[in-house]
Symmetry: C2
Subunit: 230 residues, 2 copies
């Protein structure tokens, strides 16, 4: 299944649409691999230019700065996840099953983990895990948010919170729970690998452990309360 059509990040993110030229496409593909290898801080446009075999200035014609490039990567990912979630859930009816499926997509990975885009999705997923907080933990959050650049993430959060509300309409914190699940689906695998003392899991690469934790957490929270509790 080829689904490039659905994964076009906002026009505002790039100065020129990188998918419209061979150089632009190479900047995205090679950029993902290089940022994954070096990490956001060590990644520079100069180093990317060497890999892409163009000049630094050419990259600046596509992206204002590396923060915008990171946002472009993340937006691509969240659009992809949202699309996959819609496809995977459309023939499910049980609200509980839908919730389980979404948690699986967020942690273990996407069911269709290959297409013709040429994008290294494993690298992209690890960029999302390690760098996505840096997209909004900046003094420019409010400006970036005003440009609607977090819309895909917020839409996905809304989508998940709707699943929670469908399961239990009286639960008072569906969105907060959704953003908690979204964030922890990234942080806990990172903790597992680098700071295992913060988890109950060994230094394993098995993300299904995180899925089990999140399922337990979500279904406990959504369980209608008995009158003895507040």
């Amino acid at each position: 299944m080829d689904l490039q059509i659905s994964i076009q990040p906002s026009q505002k993110l790039a100065l020129r649409d990188p998918e419209s030229s061979p150089l632009g496409r190479k900047i995205i593909r090679d950029g993902i691999v290089l940022m994954h290898r070096l990490g956001y801080e060590q990644f520079t446009f100069k180093k990317l230019a060497e890999v892409v075999e163009c000049t630094e200035a050419s990259i600046y014609r596509y992206f204002e700065n590396k923060h915008r490039l990171l946002l472009y990567f993340l937006t691509w990912y969240w659009n992809y996840v949202e699309y996959q979630a819609i496809v995977s859930l459309q023939n499910l009816n049980d609200p509980a099953l839908k919730i389980r499926k979404v948690i699986e997509i967020l942690t273990v990975g996407l069911p269709n983990w290959s297409d013709a885009s040429g994008i290294d999705k494993a690298a992209l997923h690890e960029i999302v895990i390690a760098e996505s907080s840096k997209a909004y933990l900046t003094k420019d959050v409010d400006i970036i948010n005003g440009e609607q650049l977090f819309k895909p993430y917020k839409d996905l959060c809304r989508h998940i919170s709707d699943l929670f509300s469908a399961y239990n309409p009286s639960y008072p914190y569906p969105r907060t729970l959704a953003s908690t699940v979204l964030e922890m689906a990234q942080f806990q695998p990172y903790f597992m690998e680098h700071l295992p003392a913060l988890t109950d899991f060994g230094k394993e690469r098995d993300h299904s452990k995180v899925a089990a934790f999140l399922e337990n957490l979500v279904f406990s929270a959504l369980q209608p309360k008995t009158s003895s509790e507040n």
Copy 2:
């Protein structure tokens, strides 16, 4: 109550103990205020040197780089929270009450929010909220972790997870739940202020809403399950 004695970050963090000289103390106090104002990315030692009225090189004699300075700030904060948690909980017996108290300390703030240290704790708390992820979301995590520099945070996580285990010894994810609570106690107030669509709260400054959510989440998760659930 004066408790500076207990809040000495690790020796490894600073090249020279900043609390041992007037210049060092000024670097810490002014550094907190400046990093809070500019954010981690825009904060530089040159700008701090202007405020402190010393040279850039003088600051480098205390801290290797600004990442180490951030770690110093965070360590100070987590040591302070751990200390306050111990003091606040020592005369409580009910496990549930202890959990509630810790959540309150993490979200609403510390009970004794003033001492003689001269440190702007409100600014420090906001640095923790906005910047602490940047302490470990770096390619050097494993090196820094090997130097035991995340110990105060891990100790606090362990402390909280012990409270969870005391409340329900059969709960299988006490540490993961503790790190989830610790992270969300910072992220959710940030979301509330900058990305309210990710929460169920308006753009308020009332952190007690976050506390209510976390209490609900924790006590639901820790509730012994009936046999009908997995």
